[in-house]
């Protein structure tokens, strides 16, 4: 019996995983897609096609010479109708390529590698060409993550199957339905990194996924059951829980000899390396107040509205459409496309949205108790509002991951995360 591990603080919101038992279905092919030229952390791509160009599924339509960037591909076959500025689910405005579908679904020819024979460089270059980025949320370009600086010795690969946000089941379903690909993908990553120690962290509220991955992983890929507690899936807390190591403030998992990849990314790595398939689709959980919650395999660039319709439309008076989970997701005000990092579309009707008035802090200390980073959110709010960025810095405001545990438990309903974001901005101004 494996020991279950955890981390400091955290919260336990209602899981509301309504779609745990729903098989991944292929979403209807969209008639139009909006492909943002930046769906990752790093430099935006430049378009490599022009308006009016005919494109096929998997054809590269944007790329960048920058080291930290990832190309984007067409996700349907059709015609480029416009190149214009569009809104990302994160609220940023970026240039995007809009494609109108034709009748077919014609793919480019893809060619994979034999991971047994291919060199490390060949595989990394394949992963870059396929436009892979971290699909768990941050969107860090995968080829950069798999090519750590020489002086960082990597000894452990952790596959992140925690999926700690309520409602989301995209990774859970992948572990049940595409477990083989995840295991093979993990072995490819391990080969690229030159590590033997491969671990998969899964929260213990997904016993079926733990069993499945444990069975498929055999000797080489070991499953580590984790206590179900948000934000277990944050890689810093995952590393702490599994290995007891702390990523230094301002550092990366590299610095403690670890690379973390999300299960969705791992599966995409398998498909990219062995078959040369670019990142054109991903699993998205569409849930909340929709008629029928689903896990859909969605072409990137599909608009949220058409996916909500595919789930039977909204139930009740919709007040929020959230990209991502309820703890860290972004509330939308217009229609936006699914991007490489969109794991969930969460619809909240007015019954689920409570607008609560803020009341004074009563210093109950709950925010401190739940902060997984060991911060004192109540003090950060106080210093931010008193316009004391130097004190915010002294109290390690930049270590905040904005996981939202503090605001979740606050009895005074203070929008702590929002205030801390303001505080961070003030600190950045201070540093300039």
């Amino acid at each position: 019996m494996l020991m279950k591990r955890g981390f400091r603080g955290g919260v336990h919101p209602l899981p509301n995983k309504l779609t745990s038992d729903k098989k991944i279905e292929k979403a209807k092919l969209p008639s139009r897609v909006v492909i943002p030229l930046r769906q990752h952390i790093g430099a935006p791509c430049d378009p490599v096609v022009e308006k009016g160009a005919k494109v096929k599924v998997g054809q590269k339509i944007g790329d960048s010479p920058a080291a930290v960037s990832a190309p984007v591909h067409s996700t349907i076959s059709g015609t480029v109708s416009e190149i214009s500025t569009q809104l990302l689910p994160t609220g940023d405005r970026v240039p995007a390529i809009v494609i109108e579908a034709d009748d077919g679904d014609e793919w480019i020819e893809t060619k994979g590698l034999d991971p047994e024979k291919a060199s490390r460089e060949e595989m990394i270059s394949k992963i870059r060409e396929c436009g892979l980025v971290g699909m768990g949320g941050a969107g860090f370009p995968t080829h950069v993550k798999l090519n750590p600086p020489k002086e960082k010795r990597i000894d452990t690969l952790i596959i992140n199957g925690a999926e700690c946000e309520p409602y989301i089941t995209a990774d859970h379903r992948l572990m049940l339905e595409e477990g083989e690909k995840i295991i093979e993908g993990a072995k490819i990553i391990a080969k690229i990194l030159g590590v033997d120690n491969i671990l998969i962290g899964i929260e213990d509220n997904k016993p079926d996924a733990i069993d499945n991955m444990d069975r498929l992983g055999g000797e080489s890929v070991r499953v580590v059951p984790l206590k179900t507690r948000y934000p277990q899936g944050d890689e810093r807390h995952l590393i702490k829980a599994i290995l007891g190591r702390e990523v230094p403030a301002g550092g990366l998992p590299f610095d403690v000899g670890v690379v973390v990849q999300n299960v969705g990314t791992t599966k995409a790595i398998y498909e990219a390396v062995t078959q040369g398939i670019p990142l054109v689709e991903r699993v998205v959980t569409i849930t909340g107040d929709v008629k029928e919650s689903k896990n859909l395999l969605v072409r990137i660039g599909t608009l949220f509205s058409s996916l909500i319709q595919e789930c039977g439309g909204p139930v009740g008076n919709t007040r929020k459409v959230i990209a991502g989970g309820p703890m860290m997701g972004f509330a939308q005000y217009v229609d936006v496309p699914v991007v490489k990092t969109t794991n969930c579309i969460l619809v909240f009707s007015e019954e689920r949205v409570r607008e609560e008035e803020e009341s004074p802090c009563i210093r109950c200390g709950r925010c401190i108790e739940v902060c997984p980073m060991g911060l004192m959110p109540t003090m950060l709010v106080k210093f931010t509002r008193a316009k004391k960025p130097e004190m915010c810095l002294e109290y390690n405001i930049m270590s905040c991951d904005e996981c939202g545990c503090c605001a979740y438990v606050c009895p005074s309903k203070i929008p702590i995360v929002h205030v801390i974001r303001e505080g961070k901005k003030a600190v950045r101004r201070l540093k300039k």
């Binding site: 400091r8 919260v11 919101p13 209602l14 309520p166 990523v247 230094p248 403030a249 550092g251 608009l303 509205s305 909500i308 909204p314 008076n317 919709t318 007040r319 929020k320 459409v321 959230i322 309820p326 703890m327 997701g329 509330a331 939308q332 217009v334 969460l346 909240f348 949205v353 607008e355 009341s359 004074p360 009563i362 210093r363 109950c364 200390g365 401190i368 108790e369 902060c371 997984p372 980073m373 060991g374 911060l375 004192m376 109540t378 002294e394 109290y395 390690n396 270590s399 904005e402 939202g404 605001a407 979740y408 438990v409 606050c410 009895p411 005074s412 309903k413 929008p415 995360v417 974001r421």
Partner: protein, 311 residues
């Protein structure tokens, strides 16, 4: 994107725990019912009048105080707790005007003058009690025995005068002279355990506070159980030292607070002029709270050396 969609754009998180300020305050009031009921049972209906007068005065004072400050008054229940706690630490014989004046002072000077809920440094109920003790010392030290109302001294008063120790079982059930809500350790314990079980109160504070008194008294050759159960230690440890606003926000800080308050109680009882010491021990530690918070910051993830203190 959805017909008729009226988007509410707010930042994450989009879900919130059910706990609210009002809910916590209500739980504290419920937790004080056993102590209040035992006070009324032991000392009669006059005790109930004192409680009602004190709460009413506290709420009205807060309403007026917030009005004067130009702040919005909300019935969050904190004034009810201040009024109730003050009443519970008054002798059962006080004239009705005393809780009225005391609660008024507690709320207006102890709380509103600092800026209202969350801003005050000292526990308002104890500020009110200290004010009454300094202004009308005789009325604040007139004690009667339960049921018959015959004038007598409190167990700690007897001990201070060298008349020996009241049996612990009397102290535990509350069949002794004392303030309205402080005599029955059992009744207080029921409410205290309820708050700890609900996770509204950190067990560290009462445990470290009461534990320190017990251990130090034992080391000084005094019967520890007598000193734990006599006087206002239980009421103070479970309901006043745990006041969120005026006590530390960190777990370690709460232990420091409890140990410090316990040390002060022992010093006052053993070497001071008063037989009791709970009220002043908490007020003094309230003054140290900002300092304790500053020196008991949790370890920050990924920051190797714990940096302490301010600048």
């Amino acid at each position: 994107m959805i017909p008729g969609f009226k988007p509410l754009v707010s930042t994450s998180p989009h879900i919130k725990d059910k706990v609210s300020v009002r809910g916590i305050m209500l739980a504290v009031v419920i937790a004080l019912i056993p102590a209040t009921a035992s006070g009324v049972y032991l000392f009669g209906l006059h005790a109930l009048l004192v409680v009602v007068a004190s709460i009413t005065s506290a709420v009205i004072s807060e309403f007026l105080g917030y009005k004067a400050m130009g702040k919005k008054f909300t019935m969050d229940g904190s004034a009810v707790i201040t009024g109730l706690l003050l009443a519970l630490c008054l002798p059962p014989t006080v004239p009705i005007w005393m809780p009225v004046v005391g609660s008024s002072f507690a709320i207006l000077i102890g709380k509103c003058a600092f800026g209202g809920l969350g801003q005050n440094i000292f526990n308002p109920a104890l500020v009110g009690r200290a004010f009454l003790t300094l202004s009308w010392p005789a009325l604040m030290t007139t004690w009667v025995s339960p049921f018959d109302g015959v004038s007598t001294a409190t167990p700690l008063g007897e001990w201070h005068a060298g008349h020996g120790y009241t049996p612990v079982e009397n102290l535990f059930f509350g069949n002794v002279a004392g303030c309205i809500g402080e005599t029955s350790a059992l009744a207080i314990l029921i409410g205290g355990i309820f708050l700890i079980a609900m996770k509204y109160v950190d067990w560290r504070t009462p445990l470290s506070y009461i534990g320190t008194v017990g251990i130090l008294m034992w080391l000084l050759g005094e019967p520890p159980l007598f000193h734990i159960f006599a006087g206002g230690l239980f009421l103070g440890a479970f309901f006043m030292a745990t006041d969120y606003v005026t006590s530390p926000v960190t777990k370690t800080g709460r232990v420091v607070f409890g140990v410090g308050a316990g040390l002060l109680v022992v010093m006052i009882r053993m070497y001071g002029g008063f037989p009791e010491g709970v009220c002043y021990s908490i007020l003094i530690m309230n003054g140290f709270t900002p300092l304790i918070d500053r020196f008991t910051r949790p370890k920050v993830y990924g920051v190797m050396k714990k940096r302490e203190g301010g600048k």
